[in-house]
């Protein structure tokens, strides 16, 4: 072994995020003390981010299969069959901690990383989405974080040249010290040209491609899994700087060499860079890997083996090429101005050997690095159930009108136009349903097929009842896709939770996963990729449990998709689904009554399925002009959004007997939609819904320039828009940080 190795002390081990028993495991595994490079490799491979040591046991229970699933979890991204020899490749990933420290670069490199995951598999990215959670608006850092994160997501995606078409933004004080930045990318590939990380063949050259290696983000992956203390900003870990220009070149170069048949295996260098990419390639293929670090293109001088193995410099790839195609591949990379270097070879030893300056810096069993990673069945306790709140027990609002205006202009329900106008959502010329509705719809190539996409989670439901919250997150994504007319096919998740070493947090994770699994099964909506982000806590306080769901669906003809906007006057409005007036955990309860309480609305998965399938059928048969699912804020919020989007008002019938008015207008009962259809179609629509056993009733008609509710409420659409569009720009204008 190499000389000048530092002594392994408990402190050094702890600094690498390894627990004493994990270190003992290492000693047992290799039969000696590790070198510093080896310690670094273990810390990278065995941290939460790479090994999923706290969640793996529970993730295994998720439904991941369906006839249309080509590749489930375990590769860079999930792959589903969308017919005609085409596949859709997608995944979501978090960049929470880096974005808190350096919002612009943290968010930008998050987008860069997820795009790489998608094009590594041979897919051309066609859309990005994101899900953002910020602290309370009053928190002094919030504005700065919103401004930087949004600019960073736009800065990377816009330059890379992929439309950012959807997302979700919420604020809550529980994210004050731990914001969430979850980015999703969606790509299209040919089903017979999907690329995987599995290396095959012995003695094959391992090729390094892309940008040079610097000292960026060393220990980034470890940081991403460590709790934040109040002094996180003082620690100043190195944050990576993104280079979307290089990534765009890397995309074009990779797709070109793939099309030319040069690639056997490919893996992007994401978290834990060279280490995890090389180990993964070897382990998946049952091979050994030997790297000669003297060959690695470096941006800085004097980099040690330890630094090179842990660097998280962006825009890099590792490949095994067909030997006869090596020169061709090199020429393509040179044409795109990117580095190309052979840095090692595959071996039959199943060992991971790192050489640098003539010395062996690491020599580890490659399979065990992944397979023997710790696996924890952490203790978990379920969240105690919350009492059901009876709508009738809550005082009605002074006026429905004021309640609606207040809700529609609240931070969580207001328009996110200020955000999505900073994203190029029109590039590539295929965006059929733009941001601002339920799900985005993009045409695939020249059509007529299209993809519908959405990101969702209602964290306050998850906190109150993890199982129902997990179900609801999946159901809402499924509903959003359905509301556009598309058939939901599969989902990706990003599980953002607090410290799993606390049994109540672990209980949230287990509960949410149970709910997600149940809903995914019932709705035929399997999980094909995902990401886990734990330890989102500051000073002992965890974030709200936030299992983000990114859903993808397919529509045969994008011309049949519908949006939320009213398309004219005299359209019949039909409410689909059962309304009890559920106000526990509702936006009404929180924003108007100032209480975050009670049990969240239960999710009846059979009803979701039945109602959604019926709605989709009516959309595709051309009976429905506009459709909106009901979620946060309930019926009146959804109607107001439809009115604002179309610039047309509506006249609504009074509440039926048995449901208190505020429960009807603001209740958050699940499995519901509003349909708008021309008068002549309304009878058929109601008949079809009835035949399908779906509860539905006519609730009003579009027309005029105001939303007329009952005696107290006539609100002009322009007044609604002013409140809806006003909050976020007004909030952000109070700052001008560049």
């Amino acid at each position: 072994m190499a000389p000048n190795e530092p002594e392994m002390t408990p402190e050094l081990v702890a600094e690498h995020g390894l627990k004493p028993d994990e270190y003992s495991r290492i000693l047992k595994l290799i039969g000696r003390e590790p070198t510093i490079t080896e310690l670094g490799i273990f810390s990278a491979m065995w941290n939460e981010h790479c090994s999923y040591k706290s969640s793996r046991l529970h993730l295994r229970k998720l439904p991941t299969k369906a006839p249309w699933v080509i590749q489930g979890p375990g590769e860079n991204a999930g792959v589903i069959d969308i017919g005609d020899g085409q596949a859709c490749v997608f995944k979501m990933e978090s960049h929470n901690h880096p974005s808190f420290i350096e919002p612009y670069q943290g968010a930008a490199t998050g987008v860069g990383g997820i795009l790489r995951d998608v094009f590594t598999m041979g897919a051309r990215p066609v859309a990005c989405l994101n899900l953002l959670r910020f602290g309370a608006p009053e928190h002094p850092k919030t504005r700065h974080l919103v401004s930087g994160v949004v600019a960073g997501i736009g800065g990377y995606g816009n330059s890379f040249g992929v439309p950012t078409v959807g997302g979700s933004v919420n604020f809550h004080t529980r994210y004050d010290g731990n914001i969430l930045v979850n980015a999703m990318a969606v790509g299209i590939a040919k089903t017979d040209e999907i690329f995987y990380a599995t290396a095959t063949g012995i003695g094959r050259p391992i090729v390094y491609l892309g940008s040079k290696t610097g000292r960026d983000g060393i220990h980034g992956a470890t940081m991403a899994s460590a709790s934040f203390e109040a002094n996180a900003e003082e620690k100043r870990p190195t944050v990576q700087v993104g280079d979307p220009f290089s990534e765009k070149l890397l995309l074009e170069a990779c797709l070109e060499i793939m099309a030319n048949g040069c690639v056997i295996a490919i893996q992007d260098m994401g978290a834990a860079g060279l280490t995890s990419s090389a180990v993964e390639m070897g382990a998946k293929g049952g091979l050994g890997i030997e790297l000669d670090l003297d060959k690695v293109p470096c941006r800085e001088t004097g980099m040690s083996a330890y630094e090179m193995m842990l660097s998280e410099s962006q825009e890099r790839m590792l490949m095994v090429l067909r030997p006869e195609k090596e020169q061709e591949a090199e020429a393509i990379f040179k044409k795109w101005g990117l580095d190309f270097a052979i840095i090692g070879k595959t071996t039959d030893t199943k060992r991971f050997v790192i050489k640098h300056q003539g010395l062996v810096k690491a020599d580890l069993p490659i399979m065990e690095l992944g397979d023997e990673a710790p696996l924890y069945d952490r203790p978990h306790v379920p969240t105690p159930p919350k009492p059901v709140i009876d709508a009738a027990s809550l005082t009605p609002p002074a006026t429905t009108r004021d309640a609606l205006l207040q809700l529609i202009g609240s931070p969580d329900l207001c328009s996110k136009r200020w955000v999505w106008e900073q994203y190029d959502h029109l590039i590539l010329g295929n965006t059929v349903q733009r941001p601002g509705g339920d799900s985005a719809v993009i045409r695939i190539g020249e059509g007529p097929k299209g993809l519908a996409m959405t990101t969702d989670v209602t964290q306050r439901y998850c906190e109150a009842d993890p199982v129902q919250g997990g179900r609801q997150a999946v159901a809402e994504a499924w509903r959003n896709i359905t509301a556009s007319g598309a058939t939901p096919l599969a989902l990706t998740d990003n599980l953002n939770f607090g410290n799993p070493e606390r049994p109540e947090i672990m209980g949230q994770l287990v509960g949410c996963l149970k709910g997600i699994g149940e809903a995914a099964t019932a709705l035929d909506f399997p999980i094909v990729s995902g990401n886990v982000s734990l330890y989102n806590e500051t000073q002992g306080r965890g974030i709200l449990p936030t299992p983000s769901i990114g859903g993808v669906g397919l529509i045969d003809d994008v011309k049949k998709s519908v949006g939320v906007a009213f398309r004219g006057e005299g359209r019949a409005l039909i409410l689909v689904g059962q309304t009890q007036g559920w106000l526990g955990q509702s936006m009404y309860l929180r924003e108007i009554c100032g209480r975050e309480e009670g049990a969240p609305p239960p999710v009846d998965l059979a009803a979701e399925r039945r109602n959604g399938d019926a709605v989709r059928k009516l959309i595709l048969s051309g009976h429905v002009e506009s459709c909106h699912d009901l979620s946060d804020g309930g019926l009146l919020i959804a109607l107001a959004e439809m009115a604002m989007a179309g610039g047309v008002g509506a006249h609504l019938d009074a509440a039926p007997a048995g449901v208190p008015a505020h429960g009807l207008w603001f209740g958050e009962d699940q499995a519901r939609y509003i349909l708008a259809c021309v008068e002549g179609a309304a009878g058929d629509v109601l008949k079809a819904l009835d035949a399908a056993g779906v509860p539905a009733r006519r609730i009003g008609v579009t027309g005029g320039d105001a939303l007329k509710v009952d005696i107290d409420a006539s609100i002009s659409v322009s007044e609604l828009s002013k409140a809806h569009e006003g909050w976020l720009p007004g909030f952000m204008a109070a700052s001008a940080k560049t």
């Binding site: 800065g155 330059s159 040249g161 979307p244 220009f245 765009k248 190029d424 029109l426 010329g429 965006t431």
Partner: protein, 233 residues
């Protein structure tokens, strides 16, 4: 019409431009790689599409504006050939000296992607003959640095010579105020060269050529080019 679309590293709306040329202009354009020295023989129209050439890292369009192939574009323009620069393409044309002025950071300091009305200032050019004079069209913008800025004398000359192609307006055709999305001087969204054979514009007509994508007001530009080159041929 024979059209060439230039491709610099980092551009990303080349396919959008090619699709518009094909669907609305009826031509199949040739893609020309930045390190080439010549344009394809018989080129009538050169399109410099949108994107982030060289990452726009120094100034938008600065590095591409000085590339070799721009000499060929300059020669083409001097011969009276048509040149269209859209978004980053406009920035590149300004940086290369083919058009006067510069595009600075948007006055709100943010990237902005949204639908935008334009007033077509004249319809007697190869780029706008399919529109009516004063017509209000709706296309989209998608840029962070589209704030057109020029010295007072340059601006006076542009106005005096009627070289403003499009101005930002609202749906009723009013100019100024919120309709100006980026702070451009005189609400300028696009300008012509002295001989009206070079047009640079920030908005994206190429993204509005199909009803399903939100409108067809961008078609007129490509139809105009097809008509103008058919006449010339």
């Amino acid at each position: 019409m024979r059209a060439a679309v230039l491709l610099f590293p980092g551009l990303n709306r080349e396919n959008d431009a090619m699709r518009a040329l094909q669907q609305a202009g009826g031509v199949k354009p040739t893609l020309v790689w930045h390190s080439d020295h010549d344009l394809p023989k018989g080129t009538d129209l050169v399109v410099v599409p949108g994107g982030f050439s060289y990452g726009d890292y120094l100034r938008c369009g600065a590095i591409a504006g000085r590339a070799n192939i721009m000499n060929a574009v300059r020669a083409h323009a001097e011969r009276g050939g048509l040149v269209l620069g859209i978004c980053n393409g406009f920035q590149i044309l300004c940086e290369s000296g083919l058009l006067p002025g510069v595009l600075m950071r948007n006055s709100n300091l943010r990237f902005i992607c949204r639908m935008q009305h334009l007033r077509v200032e004249r319809n007697d050019t190869p780029f706008t003959n399919a529109y009516a004079k004063g017509q209000i069209i709706e296309v989209c913008v998608a840029h962070g640095e589209g704030n057109y800025t020029a010295a007072a004398d340059t601006l006076a000359r542009l106005e005096g010579e009627g070289r403003v192609a499009f101005r930002y307006s609202d749906s009723a055709g009013s100019i100024g105020g919120d309709a100006n999305c980026n702070g451009s001087m005189n609400d300028i969204a696009g300008i012509y060269s002295e001989r009206f054979n070079v047009l640079g514009m920030m908005p994206h007509p190429e993204n509005l050529i199909e009803t399903i994508m939100g409108g067809t007001d961008g078609r007129g530009l490509f139809e105009s080019l097809a008509a103008a080159t058919a006449k010339a041929a």
